[in-house]
């Protein structure tokens, strides 16, 4: 077995360090929930996170985050127990605000290995007054004002995918949010996957590979690794995908069930089945798979 294949606990402890800048993939789709919960379990702190509409709230509420680079975040403390908790711990993070395209461009620049990307987004807005990573300059080619978004190069990128081989050749489909830019910008890469497949499966449809094995540091097989977020071709949203944990009581109950009271994500999933019935996870699996005609490759 490839030395890259490991448990979630190993993948996180070997690759994520205190003070790291983390890219967390899965904008509104297939977020790496299991991996995020493992970071919480290992209490890795002083993180900077760049994420777009992914479930990163637990990292904030547990006081593990110094800075959030974001385009959209529930910042109304009156309505967010998670922010209230971070405040109470004295660990309320600094939020650096972009537009969504701004986040995508910061990651794209990192992926390209250039220091910034020109943009027509955000310029003229008040975001530039408070975000030193976006500036406006005169276009040296003489077309007038143009914005620049500074590159972000994450220390570690974490992406959950539908399938990946033991070498880390990872394939993901459905909407990609900023996954392609973010994971390719990252220095170290952790892939969590619904299933580890034979390399032959990957090689028959290589256009679908979002990141190549030579770039990947760890591969973790984790079924329902995005739960309760939907994942194309696999499962729908689970209950609690939105609007959960609005009180201290609900938060503590959730943390006990999903983090502190279990050794890993699989135990959490087993407990969900004990509470909600053995077919609980089967019920959210997609009911009507749509299969495309096979992509033909070969010689």
């Amino acid at each position: 077995m490839s030395s890259k294949v490991m448990t979630m606990s190993e993948a996180i402890s070997k690759n994520v360090k205190s003070g790291d800048l983390l890219f967390i993939g899965g904008a509104q789709h297939g977020s790496p929930s299991a991996a995020v919960h493992e970071i919480v379990r290992q209490k890795i702190d002083h993180l900077t996170i760049i994420a777009l509409l992914a479930n990163t709230g637990l990292l904030v509420s547990e006081g593990l985050v110094d800075t959030v680079l974001t385009g959209y975040y529930q910042l109304d403390e009156k309505r967010s127990y998670q922010l209230q908790r971070a405040r109470a711990l004295g660990k309320f993070p600094r939020f650096v605000e972009y537009s969504h395209f701004g986040i995508a461009q910061a990651l794209q620049a990192g992926y390209m290995g250039v220091p910034f990307m020109p943009t027509r987004s955000q310029i003229g807005s008040d975001m530039l007054k408070y975000n030193e990573n976006i500036i406006s300059i005169d276009d040296p080619f003489g077309t007038g004002k143009i914005g620049l978004v500074k590159a972000v190069v994450p220390d570690v990128g974490i992406l959950h995918v539908q399938r990946c081989d033991a070498e880390g050749n990872a394939q993901r489909w459905g909407t990609l949010g900023v996954d392609h830019e973010g994971i390719n910008a990252s220095k170290k890469i952790i892939i969590t996957t619904e299933k580890i497949v034979d390399g032959d499966v990957i090689r028959r449809d290589p256009n679908r590979t979002i990141i190549s094995g030579f770039r990947v540091n760890a591969v973790v097989e984790q079924p329902f690794g995005a739960y309760p977020v939907h994942l194309a071709g696999c499962y729908n949203d689970g209950p609690g995908a939105i609007g959960m944990m609005t009180s201290e009581e609900a938060y503590n109950a959730y943390m006990q069930a999903a983090v502190w009271g279990v050794k890993d994500w699989n135990e959490y999933l087993e407990n969900l089945k004990k509470v909600n019935g053995p077919d609980f996870l089967d019920k959210i699996k997609i009911q009507n798979p749509a299969k495309s005609d096979p992509v033909i490759t070969g010689i």
Binding site: Y72, R120, S121, S125, K129, L176, H180, N236, I286
Partner: protein, 276 residues
């Protein structure tokens, strides 16, 4: 052409969504944000603009019908799309000028169409916080014509926004968008509320019609604005929803709304949406 039969039983909220949907033309490519813009977009697609292409920021390009999603990205909005890509891709389409129409909400809006999605009061010590731009700034910066849809109140309709998240026409003087570097021929063209419809004349929000059919008066509209609004010379009553519009709206939007909060497991209806 048969005479239109107008509905009699509808609310100001219904009028807002239906009036917004009417802004979408059959040939448009529409970038829709979460919430009311999505409802208006899906309604237009189901009613008068079946050929429009809908762009959802997470990477969805759809010419085919789809059920109204709980947020924006669901298995339902992904399945049977013509193209699934990413946020970078769809915003490149927009920035390069290929998206005709933007549809967005907002926290506050001002006289010159600037939208605040960020903070009420001082940014560093806000009275209230919204989640921030999301794709709002991108939509307003890039799209050919942007339509803003939001419920109207004096607190939200201001002479000048506290924080300019999504610039409209700045202080209203000519050429401000171009000076800032925003693409030419872009900017807000309409604001649709639960009280009235506004266009922009000389880059200033101008009252075009009042939702009189559901009991809204000009005085009520003025009461829920913080400045002395410019009024079009040919001010009209807003065209009420037709019975047919209301029927489709009830079926495709209102009946689907519970799924915003409760997502039934395996909830995607069977088969390709276009075939139903």
């Amino acid at each position: 052409m048969p005479e239109k039969k107008y509905a009699t039983d509808y609310t100001a909220f219904d009028q807002m969504v239906i009036s917004a949907a009417r802004m979408i033309k059959n040939t448009d490519t529409v970038y829709v944000g979460v919430g009311l813009p999505m409802q208006a977009g899906v309604l237009a697609k189901n009613y008068h603009a079946s050929n429009c292409t809908i762009i959802i920021e997470n990477g969805i390009v759809r010419a085919s019908l789809f059920p109204i999603p709980r947020a924006t990205d669901t298995l339902g909005s992904q399945s049977y799309a013509e193209q699934l890509s990413g946020l970078f891709y769809v915003n490149c389409l927009a920035q390069a000028g290929y998206i005709t129409t933007g549809f967005m909400g907002g926290g506050q809006i001002d006289r010159h169409g600037n939208v605040n999605d960020t903070a009420v009061g001082d940014y560093r010590n806000p009275i209230h916080r919204w989640p921030g731009s999301g794709g709002g700034n991108d939509v307003m910066s890039f799209c050919g014509r942007t339509i803003v849809i939001l419920e109207q109140s004096k607190r939200r309709f201001l002479e000048k926004v506290d924080f300019n998240t999504c610039p409209g026409y700045f202080d209203g003087k000519p050429g401000r968008r171009e000076e800032a570097g925003l693409p030419p021929n872009t900017g807000p063209v309409a604001v649709i509320t639960d009280l009235a419809i506004y266009s922009f004349e000389d880059r200033e929000m101008t009252l075009r019609s009042v939702h009189a059919g559901c009991g809204v008066t000009l005085q009520k509209v003025k009461d829920e604005l913080s400045w002395d609004v410019r009024i079009a010379k040919d001010l009209k009553d807003t065209e009420p929803p037709t019975e047919e519009e209301m029927r489709v709206y009830q079926e495709k939007i209102v009946a689907a709304r519970p799924s915003f909060t409760i997502q039934p497991p395996g909830g995607r209806p069977p088969g390709p949406p276009a075939a139903r």
